[in-house]
Protein backbone atom coordinates (compact mmCIF):
# COMPACT_ATOMS: atom_id res chain seq x y z
CA UNK A 1 0.00 0.00 0.00
CA UNK A 2 1.37 3.35 -0.89
CA UNK A 3 1.08 6.42 1.18
CA UNK A 4 -0.65 8.51 -1.41
CA UNK A 5 -3.85 6.46 -1.03
CA UNK A 6 -4.57 8.27 2.20
CA UNK A 7 -7.92 9.92 2.16
CA UNK A 8 -7.94 13.63 2.58
CA UNK A 9 -9.59 14.53 5.83
CA UNK A 10 -13.11 15.78 5.60
CA UNK A 11 -13.34 19.10 7.36
CA UNK A 12 -13.53 18.81 11.10
CA UNK A 13 -16.67 20.41 12.51
CA UNK A 14 -17.47 21.99 9.17
CA UNK A 15 -18.58 25.47 10.18
CA UNK A 16 -20.00 28.31 8.13
CA UNK A 17 -17.73 29.65 5.43
CA UNK A 18 -15.83 32.75 6.36
CA UNK A 19 -13.83 35.40 4.67
CA UNK A 20 -10.11 35.16 5.17
CA UNK A 21 -9.04 38.47 6.56
CA UNK A 22 -5.30 38.60 6.71
CA UNK A 23 -3.77 41.66 8.24
CA UNK A 24 -1.27 41.88 5.42
CA UNK A 25 -1.89 43.02 1.90
CA UNK A 26 -1.61 40.50 -0.86
CA UNK A 27 1.54 41.94 -2.31
CA UNK A 28 4.22 42.64 0.20
CA UNK A 29 6.13 45.59 -1.16
CA UNK A 30 8.79 45.72 1.53
CA UNK A 31 11.38 43.97 -0.64
CA UNK A 32 10.98 46.83 -3.10
CA UNK A 33 10.55 50.00 -1.09
CA UNK A 34 12.89 49.23 1.78
CA UNK A 35 16.03 48.79 -0.37
CA UNK A 36 14.89 51.83 -2.35
CA UNK A 37 14.79 53.91 0.83
CA UNK A 38 18.18 52.50 1.76
CA UNK A 39 19.54 53.52 -1.64
CA UNK A 40 18.05 56.99 -1.51
CA UNK A 41 19.11 57.76 2.05
CA UNK A 42 22.68 56.54 1.61
CA UNK A 43 23.01 58.28 -1.73
CA UNK A 44 21.67 61.55 -0.35
CA UNK A 45 24.17 61.22 2.48
CA UNK A 46 26.91 60.43 -0.01
CA UNK A 47 26.43 63.63 -1.93
CA UNK A 48 26.47 65.92 1.07
CA UNK A 49 29.60 64.34 2.57
CA UNK A 50 33.20 65.46 2.22
CA UNK A 51 35.28 63.08 0.05
CA UNK A 52 36.98 61.33 2.97
CA UNK A 53 33.59 60.44 4.43
CA UNK A 54 32.34 59.41 0.98
CA UNK A 55 35.15 56.90 0.96
CA UNK A 56 34.05 55.55 4.35
CA UNK A 57 30.44 55.27 3.21
CA UNK A 58 31.50 53.49 0.04
CA UNK A 59 33.05 50.73 2.09
CA UNK A 60 30.28 50.83 4.68
CA UNK A 61 27.54 49.90 2.23
CA UNK A 62 29.59 46.91 1.05
CA UNK A 63 30.03 45.87 4.67
CA UNK A 64 26.30 46.38 5.14
CA UNK A 65 25.72 43.63 2.61
CA UNK A 66 28.35 41.46 4.25
CA UNK A 67 26.86 41.93 7.71
CA UNK A 68 23.40 41.13 6.36
CA UNK A 69 24.76 37.86 4.99
CA UNK A 70 26.00 37.07 8.48
CA UNK A 71 22.53 37.95 9.75
CA UNK A 72 21.16 35.20 7.49
CA UNK A 73 23.11 32.75 9.64
CA UNK A 74 23.13 34.19 13.15
CA UNK A 75 19.81 36.00 13.03
CA UNK A 76 17.56 34.07 10.66
CA UNK A 77 18.73 30.51 10.99
CA UNK A 78 20.60 30.27 14.28
CA UNK A 79 23.81 29.02 12.69
CA UNK A 80 26.82 30.36 14.54
CA UNK A 81 29.82 31.01 12.40
CA UNK A 82 33.13 32.53 13.37
CA UNK A 83 34.87 32.34 10.04
CA UNK A 84 32.58 34.40 7.84
CA UNK A 85 35.46 36.52 6.60
CA UNK A 86 36.59 33.45 4.67
CA UNK A 87 33.71 33.78 2.21
CA UNK A 88 34.21 37.51 1.83
CA UNK A 89 37.91 36.83 1.24
CA UNK A 90 37.23 34.02 -1.19
CA UNK A 91 34.99 36.35 -3.18
CA UNK A 92 37.59 39.11 -3.09
CA UNK A 93 40.41 36.78 -4.17
CA UNK A 94 38.23 35.27 -6.90
CA UNK A 95 37.77 38.68 -8.49
CA UNK A 96 41.46 39.47 -7.95
CA UNK A 97 42.71 36.25 -9.53
CA UNK A 98 40.44 36.58 -12.53
CA UNK A 99 41.42 40.20 -13.14
CA UNK A 100 43.07 39.40 -16.47
CA UNK A 101 39.78 38.19 -17.90
CA UNK A 102 38.02 40.59 -20.23
CA UNK A 103 34.75 40.41 -18.33
CA UNK A 104 32.38 43.09 -17.18
CA UNK A 105 32.41 43.92 -13.45
CA UNK A 106 29.08 42.19 -12.92
CA UNK A 107 30.48 38.94 -14.28
CA UNK A 108 33.27 39.15 -11.70
CA UNK A 109 30.72 39.58 -8.95
CA UNK A 110 28.84 36.56 -10.26
CA UNK A 111 32.01 34.48 -10.22
CA UNK A 112 32.89 35.65 -6.73
CA UNK A 113 29.46 34.67 -5.47
CA UNK A 114 29.56 31.33 -7.28
CA UNK A 115 32.95 30.32 -5.94
CA UNK A 116 31.97 31.35 -2.43
CA UNK A 117 28.78 29.32 -2.74
CA UNK A 118 30.77 26.25 -3.77
CA UNK A 119 33.09 26.69 -0.80
CA UNK A 120 30.14 27.18 1.54
CA UNK A 121 28.38 24.07 0.27
CA UNK A 122 31.52 21.98 0.76
CA UNK A 123 32.00 23.23 4.32
CA UNK A 124 28.31 22.90 5.04
CA UNK A 125 28.37 19.29 3.88
CA UNK A 126 31.37 18.39 6.01
CA UNK A 127 29.79 20.03 9.04
CA UNK A 128 26.25 18.96 8.34
CA UNK A 129 25.97 16.48 11.16
CA UNK A 130 27.77 18.58 13.75
CA UNK A 131 25.94 20.21 16.62
CA UNK A 132 25.83 24.01 16.82
CA UNK A 133 28.90 24.59 18.94
CA UNK A 134 31.02 22.11 17.04
CA UNK A 135 29.94 23.74 13.82
CA UNK A 136 30.98 27.13 15.20
CA UNK A 137 34.40 25.65 15.90
CA UNK A 138 34.59 24.16 12.43
CA UNK A 139 33.85 27.52 10.81
CA UNK A 140 36.69 29.06 12.78
CA UNK A 141 39.04 26.30 11.66
CA UNK A 142 38.01 26.79 8.06
CA UNK A 143 38.48 30.53 8.34
CA UNK A 144 41.99 30.01 9.69
CA UNK A 145 42.85 27.53 6.95
CA UNK A 146 41.68 29.98 4.29
CA UNK A 147 43.80 32.70 5.88
CA UNK A 148 46.90 30.49 6.08
CA UNK A 149 46.46 29.38 2.48
CA UNK A 150 47.05 32.93 1.25
CA UNK A 151 50.61 32.57 2.55
CA UNK A 152 51.14 29.01 1.35
CA UNK A 153 49.76 29.24 -2.18
CA UNK A 154 52.18 31.30 -4.28
CA UNK A 155 49.64 32.88 -6.66
CA UNK A 156 47.89 34.45 -3.68
CA UNK A 157 51.03 36.54 -3.01
CA UNK A 158 50.94 36.33 0.80
CA UNK A 159 51.10 39.60 2.68
CA UNK A 160 51.66 41.61 -0.50
CA UNK A 161 48.20 40.84 -1.72
CA UNK A 162 47.02 41.21 -5.29
CA UNK A 163 47.10 44.66 -6.90
CA UNK A 164 45.52 46.61 -9.72
CA UNK A 165 42.17 44.95 -9.92
CA UNK A 166 40.28 46.86 -12.61
CA UNK A 167 36.84 48.32 -12.07
CA UNK A 168 35.89 48.06 -15.74
CA UNK A 169 32.74 49.57 -17.16
CA UNK A 170 29.06 48.72 -17.06
CA UNK A 171 26.72 49.60 -19.93
CA UNK A 172 29.46 51.80 -21.31
CA UNK A 173 29.91 53.75 -18.09
CA UNK A 174 33.45 53.79 -16.78
CA UNK A 175 33.46 52.93 -13.09
CA UNK A 176 36.85 54.43 -12.30
CA UNK A 177 35.52 57.80 -11.03
CA UNK A 178 34.33 57.46 -7.41
CA UNK A 179 30.85 58.76 -8.17
CA UNK A 180 30.14 56.22 -10.88
CA UNK A 181 31.47 53.50 -8.65
CA UNK A 182 29.18 54.71 -5.89
CA UNK A 183 26.15 54.35 -8.13
CA UNK A 184 27.28 50.95 -9.33
CA UNK A 185 27.93 49.58 -5.85
CA UNK A 186 24.85 51.03 -4.17
CA UNK A 187 22.60 49.72 -6.92
CA UNK A 188 24.14 46.24 -6.69
CA UNK A 189 23.88 46.30 -2.89
CA UNK A 190 20.28 47.53 -2.92
CA UNK A 191 19.20 44.88 -5.42
CA UNK A 192 20.82 42.07 -3.46
CA UNK A 193 19.31 43.42 -0.25
CA UNK A 194 15.91 43.42 -1.94
CA UNK A 195 16.30 39.81 -3.00
CA UNK A 196 17.39 38.89 0.51
CA UNK A 197 14.41 40.75 1.95
CA UNK A 198 12.10 38.83 -0.35
CA UNK A 199 13.69 35.56 0.74
CA UNK A 200 13.42 36.64 4.36
CA UNK A 201 9.66 37.12 4.02
CA UNK A 202 9.02 33.93 2.06
CA UNK A 203 8.04 30.56 3.52
CA UNK A 204 11.69 29.60 3.05
CA UNK A 205 12.68 32.46 5.35
CA UNK A 206 9.94 31.49 7.79
CA UNK A 207 11.29 27.95 7.82
CA UNK A 208 14.75 29.22 8.65
CA UNK A 209 13.28 31.14 11.60
CA UNK A 210 11.47 28.00 12.68
CA UNK A 211 14.74 26.07 12.59
CA UNK A 212 16.40 28.79 14.63
CA UNK A 213 13.65 28.79 17.25
CA UNK A 214 13.19 25.03 17.62
CA UNK A 215 14.98 22.68 15.26
CA UNK A 216 13.39 19.57 16.75
CA UNK A 217 9.89 20.90 16.28
CA UNK A 218 10.78 22.16 12.83
CA UNK A 219 11.85 18.67 11.78
CA UNK A 220 8.75 17.19 13.39
CA UNK A 221 6.46 19.32 11.22
CA UNK A 222 8.36 18.31 8.12
CA UNK A 223 10.84 21.12 7.57
CA UNK A 224 14.02 19.65 6.07
CA UNK A 225 16.30 21.08 8.72
CA UNK A 226 19.59 19.85 7.34
CA UNK A 227 19.10 20.89 3.76
CA UNK A 228 17.67 24.27 4.69
CA UNK A 229 20.61 24.95 6.99
CA UNK A 230 22.88 24.04 4.12
CA UNK A 231 20.91 26.32 1.81
CA UNK A 232 21.17 29.18 4.29
CA UNK A 233 24.89 28.63 4.62
CA UNK A 234 25.29 28.64 0.85
CA UNK A 235 23.14 31.77 0.52
CA UNK A 236 25.13 33.60 3.19
CA UNK A 237 28.42 32.43 1.70
CA UNK A 238 27.38 33.55 -1.77
CA UNK A 239 26.28 37.01 -0.65
CA UNK A 240 29.46 37.43 1.39
CA UNK A 241 31.46 36.37 -1.66
CA UNK A 242 29.66 38.91 -3.81
CA UNK A 243 30.38 41.61 -1.24
CA UNK A 244 34.01 40.49 -1.34
CA UNK A 245 34.10 40.89 -5.12
CA UNK A 246 32.66 44.37 -4.79
CA UNK A 247 35.24 45.19 -2.15
CA UNK A 248 38.08 44.05 -4.42
CA UNK A 249 36.79 46.23 -7.25
CA UNK A 250 36.35 49.16 -4.91
CA UNK A 251 39.83 49.12 -3.42
CA UNK A 252 41.53 47.47 -6.42
CA UNK A 253 43.65 45.48 -3.97
CA UNK A 254 43.09 42.34 -1.91
CA UNK A 255 45.16 41.32 1.11
CA UNK A 256 44.97 38.42 3.57
CA UNK A 257 43.41 40.70 6.19
CA UNK A 258 40.08 40.26 4.37
CA UNK A 259 40.21 36.64 5.56
CA UNK A 260 41.59 37.09 9.04
CA UNK A 261 39.63 36.02 12.03
CA UNK A 262 39.91 39.51 13.46
CA UNK A 263 37.87 40.53 10.46
CA UNK A 264 35.41 37.70 11.14
CA UNK A 265 35.05 39.16 14.58
CA UNK A 266 34.54 42.59 13.10
CA UNK A 267 31.68 41.34 10.92
CA UNK A 268 30.05 39.86 14.00
CA UNK A 269 30.43 43.13 15.85
CA UNK A 270 28.88 45.07 12.99
CA UNK A 271 25.86 42.78 12.80
CA UNK A 272 25.48 42.64 16.55
CA UNK A 273 25.75 46.41 16.91
CA UNK A 274 22.69 46.90 14.74
CA UNK A 275 20.85 43.88 16.09
CA UNK A 276 20.91 40.41 14.56
CA UNK A 277 17.20 39.75 14.69
CA UNK A 278 15.71 42.42 12.49
CA UNK A 279 16.40 42.32 8.76
CA UNK A 280 18.01 45.75 8.60
CA UNK A 281 19.85 45.48 11.91
CA UNK A 282 23.16 44.13 10.59
CA UNK A 283 23.25 46.62 7.71
CA UNK A 284 22.59 49.51 10.06
CA UNK A 285 25.22 48.18 12.43
CA UNK A 286 27.81 47.92 9.66
CA UNK A 287 27.34 51.54 8.62
CA UNK A 288 27.34 52.74 12.22
CA UNK A 289 30.48 50.75 12.94
CA UNK A 290 32.33 52.17 9.96
CA UNK A 291 31.51 55.72 10.94
CA UNK A 292 32.29 55.24 14.61
CA UNK A 293 35.52 53.69 13.46
CA UNK A 294 36.33 56.59 11.16
CA UNK A 295 35.32 59.36 13.53
CA UNK A 296 36.63 57.94 16.80
CA UNK A 297 39.70 56.09 15.62
CA UNK A 298 40.54 58.36 12.73
CA UNK A 299 40.08 55.43 10.38
CA UNK A 300 43.35 53.86 11.43
CA UNK A 301 43.16 50.10 11.50
CA UNK A 302 42.55 49.86 15.18
CA UNK A 303 43.81 47.04 17.27
CA UNK A 304 42.32 43.72 18.03
CA UNK A 305 42.16 44.84 21.64
CA UNK A 306 39.74 47.68 20.99
CA UNK A 307 37.57 45.46 18.80
CA UNK A 308 37.40 42.90 21.57
CA UNK A 309 36.40 45.49 24.14
CA UNK A 310 33.66 46.87 21.87
CA UNK A 311 32.33 43.37 21.20
CA UNK A 312 32.32 42.47 24.86
CA UNK A 313 30.54 45.68 25.78
CA UNK A 314 27.86 45.17 23.14
CA UNK A 315 27.34 41.52 24.07
CA UNK A 316 27.05 42.21 27.76
CA UNK A 317 25.17 45.50 27.68
CA UNK A 318 23.15 45.66 24.47
CA UNK A 319 22.79 42.07 23.26
CA UNK A 320 20.01 43.02 20.84
CA UNK A 321 21.87 45.96 19.32
CA UNK A 322 20.67 49.37 18.26
CA UNK A 323 17.37 48.00 16.94
CA UNK A 324 16.84 46.32 20.30
CA UNK A 325 17.47 49.60 22.10
CA UNK A 326 14.96 51.33 19.79
CA UNK A 327 12.40 48.62 20.48
CA UNK A 328 12.91 48.97 24.21
CA UNK A 329 12.58 52.76 24.05
CA UNK A 330 9.39 52.39 22.03
CA UNK A 331 8.01 49.95 24.60
CA UNK A 332 8.83 52.37 27.40
CA UNK A 333 7.15 55.24 25.55
CA UNK A 334 4.04 53.19 24.87
CA UNK A 335 3.84 52.08 28.45
CA UNK A 336 4.24 55.56 29.90
CA UNK A 337 1.66 56.88 27.45
CA UNK A 338 -0.86 54.19 28.34
CA UNK A 339 -0.33 54.91 32.00
CA UNK A 340 -1.40 58.51 31.57
Amino acid sequence: MSVSVRNPAPPINAGPPFVTASSRSRFDLRPIYEPLIFLLVTTAAYFVMPPNMQYVLGIAVIYALLATSLGVLFGWTGIYTFGHAAFFGIGAYATALLKEQAWGPLAFLGMSALIAVIAAVLIGLIGQRLAKVEFAMLTMIVGQIAYLLTFRVPVLQGDNGIYSIPRGDVFGIDLTPPVSFWWYSIIVVAIVMGVLRRIHLSPFGESLNAIRDDAVKAAAIGIPVKSLRLAAFALAGGVAGLAGGLFAQQGSIVTPSTLSFTFSGQIIIMALLGGMMGFWGPALGAILFQFINALVFGNSTHGTLVLGIILLAVVMLFPSGVLGVFARLRDLLMRSRSRQ
Partner: protein
Protein backbone atom coordinates in the same frame (compact mmCIF):
# COMPACT_ATOMS: atom_id res chain seq x y z
CA UNK B 1 -3.00 -3.92 7.13
CA UNK B 2 -0.90 -2.47 9.91
CA UNK B 3 -0.05 1.17 9.66
CA UNK B 4 2.84 1.05 12.04
CA UNK B 5 4.95 -1.89 13.12
CA UNK B 6 7.83 -1.94 15.57
CA UNK B 7 10.13 -4.94 15.74
CA UNK B 8 12.34 -5.38 18.79
CA UNK B 9 13.07 -1.68 19.06
CA UNK B 10 15.83 -0.60 21.44
CA UNK B 11 16.96 2.91 22.25
CA UNK B 12 19.60 4.30 24.56
CA UNK B 13 21.03 7.78 25.05
CA UNK B 14 24.59 6.57 25.34
CA UNK B 15 23.93 4.82 28.64
CA UNK B 16 21.75 1.83 29.48
CA UNK B 17 18.77 1.19 27.20
CA UNK B 18 15.72 3.31 27.91
CA UNK B 19 13.52 1.40 25.49
CA UNK B 20 14.12 -2.32 25.17
CA UNK B 21 12.80 -4.95 22.84
CA UNK B 22 9.52 -3.21 22.06
CA UNK B 23 7.40 -4.83 19.36
CA UNK B 24 4.03 -3.39 18.42
CA UNK B 25 1.63 -3.70 15.52
CA UNK B 26 -0.89 -0.93 15.15
CA UNK B 27 -3.71 -1.24 12.64
CA UNK B 28 -5.20 1.64 10.67
CA UNK B 29 -7.94 3.43 12.52
CA UNK B 30 -6.94 2.15 15.95
CA UNK B 31 -6.49 4.36 18.95
CA UNK B 32 -3.75 3.00 21.15
CA UNK B 33 -2.83 4.38 24.56
CA UNK B 34 0.68 3.84 25.88
CA UNK B 35 0.73 4.12 29.64
CA UNK B 36 3.30 3.51 32.32
CA UNK B 37 4.96 5.21 35.25
CA UNK B 38 7.30 8.20 34.88
CA UNK B 39 10.50 7.29 33.10
CA UNK B 40 9.00 4.15 31.58
CA UNK B 41 10.21 5.24 28.16
CA UNK B 42 6.97 6.37 26.56
CA UNK B 43 8.26 9.69 25.27
CA UNK B 44 11.44 8.08 24.06
CA UNK B 45 9.41 5.49 22.16
CA UNK B 46 7.39 8.32 20.61
CA UNK B 47 10.62 9.97 19.59
CA UNK B 48 11.70 6.78 17.87
CA UNK B 49 8.35 6.34 16.14
CA UNK B 50 8.39 9.94 14.92
CA UNK B 51 12.01 9.78 13.73
CA UNK B 52 13.43 12.24 16.24
CA UNK B 53 15.59 9.47 17.62
CA UNK B 54 16.98 6.59 15.65
CA UNK B 55 16.40 3.17 17.17
CA UNK B 56 19.69 1.71 18.37
CA UNK B 57 18.41 -1.75 17.45
CA UNK B 58 15.31 -3.15 15.79
CA UNK B 59 13.21 -1.85 12.95
CA UNK B 60 10.11 0.18 12.25
CA UNK B 61 7.81 0.01 9.28
CA UNK B 62 5.17 2.47 8.21
CA UNK B 63 2.46 1.39 5.78
CA UNK B 64 4.40 -1.82 5.28
CA UNK B 65 7.58 -0.04 4.20
CA UNK B 66 10.75 0.15 6.21
CA UNK B 67 11.02 3.48 7.98
CA UNK B 68 13.71 2.68 10.56
CA UNK B 69 16.10 5.33 9.27
CA UNK B 70 13.58 7.73 7.82
CA UNK B 71 14.07 10.69 10.18
CA UNK B 72 11.52 13.14 11.50
CA UNK B 73 11.14 15.28 8.42
CA UNK B 74 10.53 12.36 6.09
CA UNK B 75 8.10 10.68 8.48
CA UNK B 76 6.19 13.92 8.83
CA UNK B 77 5.67 14.01 5.09
CA UNK B 78 4.61 10.36 5.14
CA UNK B 79 1.77 11.34 7.44
CA UNK B 80 3.12 11.00 10.97
CA UNK B 81 2.33 14.05 13.10
CA UNK B 82 3.32 14.29 16.73
CA UNK B 83 3.08 16.49 19.78
CA UNK B 84 5.52 16.79 22.65
CA UNK B 85 4.98 16.29 26.38
CA UNK B 86 5.76 19.98 26.94
CA UNK B 87 4.19 21.67 23.95
CA UNK B 88 6.71 22.82 21.37
CA UNK B 89 5.86 25.52 18.90
CA UNK B 90 7.29 28.83 17.76
CA UNK B 91 7.07 31.26 20.63
CA UNK B 92 7.85 34.34 18.61
CA UNK B 93 4.80 33.81 16.38
CA UNK B 94 1.11 34.26 16.84
CA UNK B 95 -1.19 31.27 17.20
CA UNK B 96 -2.27 31.50 13.59
CA UNK B 97 1.27 31.96 12.27
CA UNK B 98 2.26 28.73 13.97
CA UNK B 99 -0.40 26.92 12.01
CA UNK B 100 0.66 28.63 8.80
CA UNK B 101 4.20 27.37 9.33
CA UNK B 102 2.98 23.84 9.98
CA UNK B 103 0.82 23.90 6.87
CA UNK B 104 3.53 25.41 4.69
CA UNK B 105 6.03 22.86 5.94
CA UNK B 106 3.63 20.08 5.11
CA UNK B 107 2.98 21.47 1.64
CA UNK B 108 6.71 22.02 1.13
CA UNK B 109 6.22 25.70 0.38
CA UNK B 110 9.69 26.48 1.68
CA UNK B 111 11.01 25.21 -1.63
CA UNK B 112 10.24 28.56 -3.16
CA UNK B 113 12.47 31.14 -1.50
CA UNK B 114 10.86 34.12 -3.25
CA UNK B 115 7.17 33.28 -3.01
CA UNK B 116 4.68 35.57 -1.35
CA UNK B 117 3.98 36.09 2.29
CA UNK B 118 2.35 32.99 3.76
CA UNK B 119 -1.32 33.48 4.57
CA UNK B 120 -3.97 31.79 6.58
CA UNK B 121 -6.64 29.68 4.87
CA UNK B 122 -9.76 27.74 5.64
CA UNK B 123 -7.96 24.59 6.75
CA UNK B 124 -6.15 26.62 9.36
CA UNK B 125 -9.30 28.30 10.64
CA UNK B 126 -11.03 24.93 10.83
CA UNK B 127 -8.20 23.48 12.86
CA UNK B 128 -8.22 26.52 15.16
CA UNK B 129 -11.95 26.15 15.75
CA UNK B 130 -11.61 22.45 16.39
CA UNK B 131 -9.28 23.04 19.32
CA UNK B 132 -11.09 26.14 20.53
CA UNK B 133 -8.38 28.65 19.71
CA UNK B 134 -10.21 30.57 17.03
CA UNK B 135 -10.64 33.64 19.19
CA UNK B 136 -7.03 33.66 20.26
CA UNK B 137 -5.62 33.32 16.78
CA UNK B 138 -3.89 36.70 16.69
CA UNK B 139 -2.44 36.31 20.19
CA UNK B 140 1.32 35.98 20.53
CA UNK B 141 1.66 32.29 21.26
CA UNK B 142 3.92 32.81 24.25
CA UNK B 143 1.01 34.33 26.17
CA UNK B 144 -1.10 31.16 26.03
CA UNK B 145 -2.01 29.12 29.07
CA UNK B 146 -0.43 25.73 29.46
CA UNK B 147 -3.52 23.91 28.25
CA UNK B 148 -3.94 26.19 25.24
CA UNK B 149 -0.37 25.44 24.27
CA UNK B 150 -1.19 21.77 24.10
CA UNK B 151 -4.23 22.63 22.00
CA UNK B 152 -2.11 24.76 19.70
CA UNK B 153 0.24 21.88 19.13
CA UNK B 154 -2.64 19.57 18.28
CA UNK B 155 -4.01 22.16 15.88
CA UNK B 156 -0.61 22.37 14.17
CA UNK B 157 -0.72 18.61 13.71
CA UNK B 158 -4.25 18.80 12.29
CA UNK B 159 -3.22 21.25 9.55
CA UNK B 160 -0.94 18.52 8.29
CA UNK B 161 -3.75 16.08 7.63
CA UNK B 162 -1.93 13.20 9.31
CA UNK B 163 -2.49 9.47 8.91
CA UNK B 164 -0.86 8.72 12.24
CA UNK B 165 -1.23 11.11 15.13
CA UNK B 166 1.17 10.72 18.06
CA UNK B 167 -0.06 12.70 21.04
CA UNK B 168 2.23 12.76 24.05
CA UNK B 169 0.17 13.59 27.13
CA UNK B 170 -2.30 15.72 25.16
CA UNK B 171 -4.25 16.80 28.22
CA UNK B 172 -1.39 17.47 30.62
CA UNK B 173 -1.79 20.93 32.09
CA UNK B 174 -5.26 21.48 30.70
CA UNK B 175 -8.04 22.94 32.80
CA UNK B 176 -11.06 20.89 33.86
CA UNK B 177 -13.16 22.19 30.96
CA UNK B 178 -10.47 21.67 28.32
CA UNK B 179 -9.99 17.97 28.97
CA UNK B 180 -13.51 16.93 27.97
CA UNK B 181 -13.28 19.19 24.94
CA UNK B 182 -10.05 17.57 23.85
CA UNK B 183 -11.57 14.13 24.34
CA UNK B 184 -14.54 15.21 22.26
CA UNK B 185 -12.25 16.61 19.60
CA UNK B 186 -10.31 13.36 19.32
CA UNK B 187 -13.49 11.31 19.28
CA UNK B 188 -14.88 13.56 16.57
CA UNK B 189 -11.68 13.16 14.59
CA UNK B 190 -11.96 9.41 14.76
CA UNK B 191 -15.53 9.50 13.53
CA UNK B 192 -14.84 11.81 10.65
CA UNK B 193 -11.69 9.94 9.70
CA UNK B 194 -12.12 6.24 10.39
CA UNK B 195 -8.67 5.44 9.00
CA UNK B 196 -6.82 7.88 11.28
CA UNK B 197 -4.53 6.08 13.68
CA UNK B 198 -4.03 7.77 17.03
CA UNK B 199 -1.39 6.87 19.58
CA UNK B 200 -1.49 8.70 22.86
CA UNK B 201 0.34 8.56 26.12
CA UNK B 202 -1.44 9.75 29.22
CA UNK B 203 -1.20 9.63 32.96
CA UNK B 204 -4.86 10.58 33.12
CA UNK B 205 -6.81 7.32 33.02
CA UNK B 206 -10.03 9.15 32.21
CA UNK B 207 -8.57 10.08 28.85
CA UNK B 208 -7.27 6.57 28.27
CA UNK B 209 -10.61 4.93 28.94
CA UNK B 210 -12.54 7.45 26.94
CA UNK B 211 -10.47 6.96 23.81
CA UNK B 212 -8.33 3.86 23.65
CA UNK B 213 -9.22 0.70 21.77
CA UNK B 214 -6.11 -0.86 23.11
CA UNK B 215 -3.69 -0.12 25.93
CA UNK B 216 0.03 -0.83 26.07
CA UNK B 217 1.55 -0.75 29.51
CA UNK B 218 5.26 0.06 29.61
CA UNK B 219 7.64 -0.32 32.51
CA UNK B 220 11.41 0.11 32.52
CA UNK B 221 11.48 0.51 28.78
CA UNK B 222 9.67 -2.75 28.05
CA UNK B 223 6.12 -3.60 27.12
CA UNK B 224 4.77 -5.20 30.29
CA UNK B 225 1.18 -5.77 29.23
CA UNK B 226 -0.98 -5.21 26.22
CA UNK B 227 -4.71 -5.58 25.81
CA UNK B 228 -8.08 -3.85 25.92
CA UNK B 229 -8.45 -1.09 28.49
CA UNK B 230 -10.52 -2.93 31.06
CA UNK B 231 -8.30 -6.00 30.94
CA UNK B 232 -5.25 -3.83 31.63
CA UNK B 233 -7.01 -2.02 34.43
CA UNK B 234 -7.97 -5.28 36.12
CA UNK B 235 -4.62 -6.96 35.73
CA UNK B 236 -2.75 -7.25 39.04
CA UNK B 237 0.52 -6.46 37.27
CA UNK B 238 -0.71 -2.94 36.48
CA UNK B 239 -1.29 -2.26 40.15
CA UNK B 240 2.07 -3.66 40.99
CA UNK B 241 3.90 -1.52 38.43
CA UNK B 242 2.20 1.69 39.44
CA UNK B 243 2.38 0.96 43.16
CA UNK B 244 5.98 -0.17 42.93
CA UNK B 245 6.76 3.10 41.24
CA UNK B 246 4.90 5.27 43.71
CA UNK B 247 6.65 3.42 46.49
CA UNK B 248 10.02 4.33 45.04
CA UNK B 249 8.73 7.81 44.50
CA UNK B 250 8.06 8.14 48.22
CA UNK B 251 11.58 7.18 49.07
CA UNK B 252 13.13 10.02 47.09
Amino acid sequence: MNVLELHNVHKNYGGPPVVQDVSLSIAAGQTVAIIGPNGAGKTTLFGVMAGEHRATKGSISLFGKDATRAGAQRLSHLGVARTFPVARYFLAKTVEQNLVIARDAHQSKYRNPVSRTPRSDEGIRTALRAVGLDELRHQPSNTLSHGDRKSLEIAMALTQNPAVLLLDEPTAGMGAEDIPRTIRLLKGLRESRPDLTIIITAHDMEVVFALADRVVLMANGRVALEGNPSAIRDDPLTREIYLGNSYEGDKQ
